[in-house]
Symmetry: C2
Subunit: 492 residues, 2 copies
């Protein structure tokens, strides 16, 4: 720049990392990422460390003097990496398997350099409008009508919180002025399989843990519409104010699919907000073969779909669709003087649609992912995960000592080691032991859930690098780990 060589008392700029240094270290980081993406199999999936081990390796205080980036990057490899559980590993089958894909990572790199905050239109016109465009692209790919508009949040926890705040606003509009104090108790409804973020949202919104009624699910873990209706009627009689229903298309434990048409009818009958949690399952609506699972979700008031789950976008990226964005805005919009801009009324200020004011440029990575893979490429990849899951399900079904616990509508298989004649308590202990043994190999990472009181194992597929061989290996490790556990169980 050389602009400040004149004038009295020139202030010497201390500045950012010198450009050449950024380039050299950037090359190292880029090469590291490329090598990592080429072969994440080199690393144990589940970090083989104990609580406190990573912390103990780090100094207790920040350095007084700056350190060379080379030293810091070496420490990243030596001290941090051993404590990383590798979500981007092809044999990460725990929780929901995700992908930080190549195009998504490139998008994040650019977004972090631009460092824009798309809180109001003017603070990031492209950030705001690309968010509108990518959300609309995805909406159309999902087969949702144009009446839905999308905003991008960090996580489904936030998206569902915002949707439920809009439901509160719709039912108790006066409460946004004076609060819930003078109003009857309010209640949301969801199945016993709904995500814990729905409970958290009910608590955050001031309805308490009892502000969510967990309704019984059927034998395949789907919300029972008759139980839903009964719960609402019971509350109405007791003077409790029903607020909204949360249906899940792809629950966390088993990826069960609530009967959305019937649930929507109940919501319409009682004029309740219907929020659909399709955070994981949603992207599958792009696939014609799977679209029927979603039939009726267009009747919802709001839907959350997370591209950072099964749409190859690095976390975080959660799209909240609402049929009446004004309703969401009424729940959150407040514009202080320092954020008033001349574009109000002509342009959308994204801060008005949720709690968070600061907003990363999350649309960029999603745009990269949608364009790079294309609709066809995404459909094929999702379908491939579903096919692999079905194959695994068939393997489980063939083994007499193993039991598949739930249907496989998407890409997650839930099962357990349950030799005939053995006690449920023993089976629980065995399955826990199997999971620990298999995870300790570092070759695969899977997680568990509890269904009808019994511990079950889950294998969730969603990483783009996962191949059939990873599944075969996992299935082999599982059977080996079960060997000798039960008297009647065959060895490997």
């Amino acid at each position: 720049m050389g602009l400040d060589e004149e004038g009295t008392a020139p202030v010497q700029p201390l500045g950012d990392m010198p450009n050449q240094e950024f380039r050299v270290n950037g090359e190292w980081v880029l090469d590291w990422i490329a090598r990592y993406l080429e072969d994440p199999d080199r690393y144990p999936v589940l970090a083989p460390v104990s609580p406190g081990e990573i912390r103990a390796r780090l100094p207790a205080e920040a350095p007084e003097k700056g350190e060379p980036m080379e030293t810091i990057l070496r420490d990243y490899e030596d001290l941090i990496l051993p404590g990383i559980t590798h979500w981007n590993h092809p044999a990460f089958f725990a929780y929901f398997s995700i992908t930080g894909s190549g195009p998504g990572i490139l998008g994040e790199m650019l977004a972090s350099a631009l460092n824009v905050n798309a809180m109001v239109w003017r603070s990031s016109p492209a950030g705001t409008e690309l968010e509108e465009v990518t959300a609309a692209w995805l909406r159309d790919l999902l087969g949702l009508p144009h009446s839905f508009e999308g905003v991008i949040n960090d996580t489904a926890s936030s998206s569902s919180l915002y949707a439920m705040a809009a439901a509160r606003e719709a039912k108790l509009p006066q409460a946004s002025a004076t609060g819930l104090s003078g109003f009857p108790r309010g209640r949301f409804y969801a199945s016993d399989q709904a995500h814990s973020s729905i409970d958290k949202a009910a608590i955050t919104l001031g309805f308490g843990r009892e502000g969510l009624k967990r309704v019984a699910s059927d034998e395949t873990f789907r919300l029972r519409p008759d139980a839903l209706r009964a719960a609402i009627e019971e509350d109405l009689e007791a003077g409790i104010q029903p607020l909204g229903i949360v249906a899940t298309l792809g629950t966390t434990s088993t990826t069960s699919v609530d009967p959305i048409q019937e649930v929507a009818s109940v919501a319409e009958e009682f004029r309740l907000w219907l929020h659909v949690d399709a955070a994981y399952g949603g992207p599958a609506a792009m696939v014609p073969e799977l679209r029927p699972l979603f039939s009726g979700w267009e009747r919802a008031d709001s839907i959350v779909v997370n591209p950072h789950k099964w749409l190859f976008t690095p976390i975080d990226c959660s799209v909240l669709y609402v049929r009446d964005p004004e309703q969401l805005k009424r729940a959150f919009s407040l514009t202080p003087d320092y954020l008033k801009t001349s574009e109000e009324g002509v342009a959308r200020n994204l801060m008005d649609y949720g709690q968070a004011l600061g907003r990363r440029f999350r649309a960029l990575k999603l745009w990269f992912v949608l364009r790079y893979f294309g609709a066809e490429g995404i459909r094929k990849r999702i379908l491939q995960h579903v096919e692999m899951a079905r194959e695994l399900a068939a393997w489980v079904d063939r083994e007499p000592d193993w039991e598949r616990v739930a249907p496989v509508p998407f890409s997650t298989v839930v099962f357990r080691f349950a030799p005939e004649g053995s006690a449920g308590e023993d089976q629980d202990r065995w399955n826990a032991a199997i999971m620990d043994r298999v995870n300790a190999t570092g070759e695969v990472f899977l997680s568990h859930t509890v269904l009808r009181g019994r511990l079950c194992l889950r294998i969730a597929l969603g990483n783009l690098k996962t191949r059939r061989a990873h599944l075969e290996k996992s299935w082999q490790l599982l059977r080996e780990a079960a060997g000798g556990l039960a008297p009647s169980a065959p060895g490997d």
Copy 2:
């Protein structure tokens, strides 16, 4: 891998972007970022586009077939970049000026490739423990006692929401079961200068817009402790339940500093939760010369400091410190079966401390920033911003037609064109015109606020590339824009 060449019906993996393609495009992206960081002055700070212009350039539908990354990156430059308001530009003086620094960007690159979700310890031991370590490093640098523990959230909006949820839990513990319905109305207190996220949090938590009482500030925009005490006493008499006080150290409009010792005494007197919003100002506590501004904040129950504001860390990164993490946990902890792990009780599961379950690996970039610049380097850089702001303030003070509206405790100067004898309404119109003219040059971007009903201009410093020359140019542009506006005003 070549692992799937055997077996019947092999599934052809479609996979991620091929590695060589990632490398080639990664090189392009890295080079683009390096060039961008070298000279962001090339771009107009404020995007010279109208609402809808970017959207109109983009196709209405996602592509059916995947596209080459090269095409997408070209479109990024041609279609997206013209709509970017450059937060990483050295003459971005609007809102709060921030820096996506070199080491921070390198940290984000690695985090996006690892793509970990640090929701429970096991899902990211290093993510969890590095968050504990960096939050503790920063706490010590800020001079806060060890009784404070930190968690990293996305934004201060979330951090303050969580702190206020903990305050609610402390005062109305039964409400987390049954909700606020049966309880008296609750109230938080903050000055008329507090951030809008505090109103939003009160609304979200179920207390409504009236759940936040805005207390008068004094002539330098600091919360008046006498007015605070009066407001609390009035509410107590009226049967309204006081919940907590939010003090701000560095308000958004003027960076005024609430008298924290006196406010803390009021909080203690009434046994109310004291939350300190130091999202912007906080990092200045690292500087010995500025530490006295914070004297007393250690008496708070919770404090939010945003490294993504004045600590050179790419957004988003907000640290919430709480003196009693168990109180925060009580407000949010709920562990569903599928997230129960064997490390409970020995390790911290970060999901328990807020609404969001999904958590990016935000500690990595903060660790890079703290180590690369070092405590000394950060202090010097912050102090340099303060010195530049003081110099600008002196320039404003020297000009008779301009008025400085507030003290400059940090790095933000608030001022207005106010020729003697002119009417306030005319001044408002002139200042709006000056801002628009200056921003239209593309050489600088500043924003406004309204204080005591009068429109004021703000210049906020916080970017590492900002030099005195950028300020000089801005001041010149401002005076030029004012030239000829008022009869008594001198030209440039």
